[in-house]
């Protein structure tokens, strides 16, 4: 088993490193700095850290004011609160003026676990992807997280980065180079393509491995940038004749919908979406992934079903 590393910690450490280099970076949090890991930044650079208390809407608009004054504003809370609680603030203060605010939301998806549905963000990608001009990234591991945060700081405009709560196995090694807007082919294959994000990337790799033993040859893509999505990679994946998407999000408005839009426009093929269909309950992250159909086994079933419809 490869090493498990926290994506949130990678975010917090990278943010501190960026802050030490660049005096324009400011960080805002809403009373969750130990969970989002912005506390690394807060401890070393307190004058550029603003804890807004339990007031996420206020935090987002303050971030927009700081950004309008030349700052690169990172704002963090749980994914269920931003965009969920602050949609109008994000819309008016960040998306409409294309403000230089980077929302880094942690605890995305159902693997928040025991806290239950109030804290499990399953609609955030649909909400944030609906906003014009947002760049949306869902990193698959800690290495990709660090580089995505660097890319967000280096590019002007609104960003949303969604991180999961649990530590996760490294997919990449230190030679990996994240490229904004580009999918990563993790495995070549000709019978079907599995496109995954976040924690589902490792499940996709496991599924491809298992299917290989049954003689089904799957391509596996990680799609870290959900928006703007890598259309060329999707059209290329459609060459296999079947696409399966896998995400820790509702089936509406997330990865599956975005991939289907591109495929429908350019190269329609049978598709299956491994995703959530409603709210989940309290439980251990691994138990929840099994209960709500987000495992390698579920991806394998979906691949077979899509191939049958070729």
């Amino acid at each position: 088993m490869a090493q498990e590393v926290s994506l949130r910690e990678a975010y917090g450490q990278t943010l501190l490193e960026l802050g030490l280099e660049n005096p324009d970076i400011v960080v805002l949090d809403a009373d969750l700095s130990r969970s989002t890991m912005t506390h690394f930044f807060a401890q070393k650079l307190p004058e550029r850290f603003f804890d807004c208390g339990v007031a996420e809407q206020n935090m987002i608009s303050i971030a927009a004011g700081l950004a309008a004054s030349g700052k690169i504003a990172f704002a963090s809370t749980f994914a269920v609160f931003a965009p969920g609680r602050c949609f109008d603030q994000i819309r008016m203060s960040i998306a409409q003026p294309q403000s230089n605010v980077k929302i880094v939301a942690t605890h995305g998806g159902i693997t928040v676990g025991e806290d239950g549905s109030s804290h499990q963000s399953v609609e955030d990608l649909a909400l944030i992807c609906s906003l014009p001009g947002f760049t949306v990234i869902v990193p698959a591991d800690a290495i990709e997280t660090a580089q995505a945060v660097e890319a967000a700081a280096a590019s002007y405009g609104p960003f949303y980065i969604r991180l999961c709560r649990p530590k996760s196995r490294l997919i990449y090694d230190q030679d990996y180079r994240f490229r904004l807007g580009r999918a990563v082919t993790l495995r070549q294959g000709k019978d079907a393509a599995i496109i995954a994000i976040g924690l589902m990337v490792k499940e996709a790799l496991e599924a491809a491995q298992n299917l290989k033993q049954e003689g089904i040859d799957c391509r596996v893509l990680n799609m870290p940038t959900l928006k703007p999505i890598d259309e060329a990679a999707i059209i290329d994946a459609a060459e296999t004749g079947a696409i399966v998407t896998a995400e820790e999000h509702l089936e509406h408005g997330g990865l599956g919908s975005l991939v289907a839009q591109v495929a429908a426009r350019h190269r329609p093929v049978p598709m299956e979406m491994v995703a959530l269909h409603g709210y989940a309950k309290s439980g251990k992250p691994d138990e929840l992934l099994v209960r709500y159909g987000l495992t390698a086994g579920d991806i394998e079933k979906a691949v077979k079903s899509a191939i049958k419809r070729k």
Binding site: V26, E47, R48, F50, C52, G53, A55, Q57, N58, I60, S61, I62, A63, A64, G65, L66, A67, A68, S69, G70, K71, A73, D88, Q89, R91, M92, S93, Q96, P97, Q98
Partner: protein, 294 residues
């Protein structure tokens, strides 16, 4: 001394920049004249547009005139001048009042005001910072401007800039919970470079505030949130000027100026008439209004 292109009324006393800003001598008559021109433009442009929010625009005219022609350091020909004082219109529906004021200052040609709300105009129905020179924030969704202004104020402090930030809120807007989140945070961060002005005209869309959603005890609420509170007649130039001067001396806490105003001020049949919150004067009404504003 300020550079000549900064926006100020001409002053007979030019001893110091401070005296020039706060002088209450000769320019008062000119302020009144400027306010009248802004009012005429508000009724004319909303009539031409066939829609808009004249009531809450007319109530804010003296506040805007005082800020832009007396108090703020700004350069109409250089809207992004880094040292400028910032004005954030949180009650974005008062866009006609802001546009008319910006036009009087020279940010945009007065003739452009007649394009308000029309296709391809850079004067959107509610303020849009991506289209209009001098507009700092896109507003219209109420309750967000004070938070935004606090962010601008915090940035000024980080950058060791002396600029001051003025945010204009509606009283009805203070129904929004985010206003009070921002009020709490502004006091917590000791943002003494931030001044909120509430255009306290007493009315909102569905009627009088006291009937729709009672805000009282309003000054006490701000005080309890840690603000210095100054109450003025929001149509009195001397009182407004004095309040802004007083706010400049407040250290360690933000200041709110509760400006008691009359919705629709300056046009008899629009005053205190909620019908003119979100409806423009028709062709007959605009003639009557302009006659009153001669």
């Amino acid at each position: 001394m300020s550079s000549p292109e900064e926006c100020r009324l001409p002053s007979t006393s030019a001893d110091s920049a401070e005296a020039e800003v706060f002088s209450l001598s000769a320019p008062a008559a000119e302020l009144k004249n400027t306010a009248k021109k802004i009012r005429r433009n508000i009724v004319t442009m909303t009539n031409r547009a066939g829609s808009g929010h004249p009531g809450g625009s007319l109530s804010a005219v003296e506040i805007l005139t005082t800020l832009y022609f007396r108090v703020m350091h700004h350069k109409p020909l250089d809207p992004h001048w880094p040292e400028r004082d910032r004005f954030i219109l949180s009650k974005g529906h008062a866009a006609p009042a802001l546009y008319a004021t910006l036009a009087e200052c020279g940010y945009l040609p007065v003739a452009e005001l007649l394009t308000l709300r029309q296709m391809d105009s850079y004067l959107q129905g509610h303020t849009d910072c991506t289209t209009t020179p001098g507009v700092e924030m896109s507003a219209g969704a109420l309750g967000q401007g004070l938070s935004f202004a606090l962010g601008v104020a915090l940035a000024g402090r980080l950058d060791r800039q002396d600029y001051r930030v003025y945010a204009l809120l509606g009283d009805g807007e203070c129904d929004e919970g985010q206003v009070w989140e921002a009020a709490m945070a502004s006091a917590h961060f000791k943002a003494d470079n931030l001044v909120a002005i509430v255009d306290n005209n007493g009315q909102q869309i569905d009627g009088w505030n006291r009937d729709v959603m009672n805000l009282e005890p309003f000054p006490a609420k701000w005080q309890a949130f840690g603000w210095r509170v100054i109450e003025v007649d929001g149509h009195s130039f001397p009182q407004l000027t004095q309040a802004f001067k007083q706010a400049r001396g407040v250290k360690g806490q933000p200041t709110v100026i509760i400006a008691h105003t009359v919705k629709g001020k300056g046009v008899s049949f629009m005053e205190n008439n909620p019908d003119f919150h979100g409806a423009a004067p028709n062709d007959i009404e605009v003639k009557l209004a302009l006659k009153e504003l001669e």
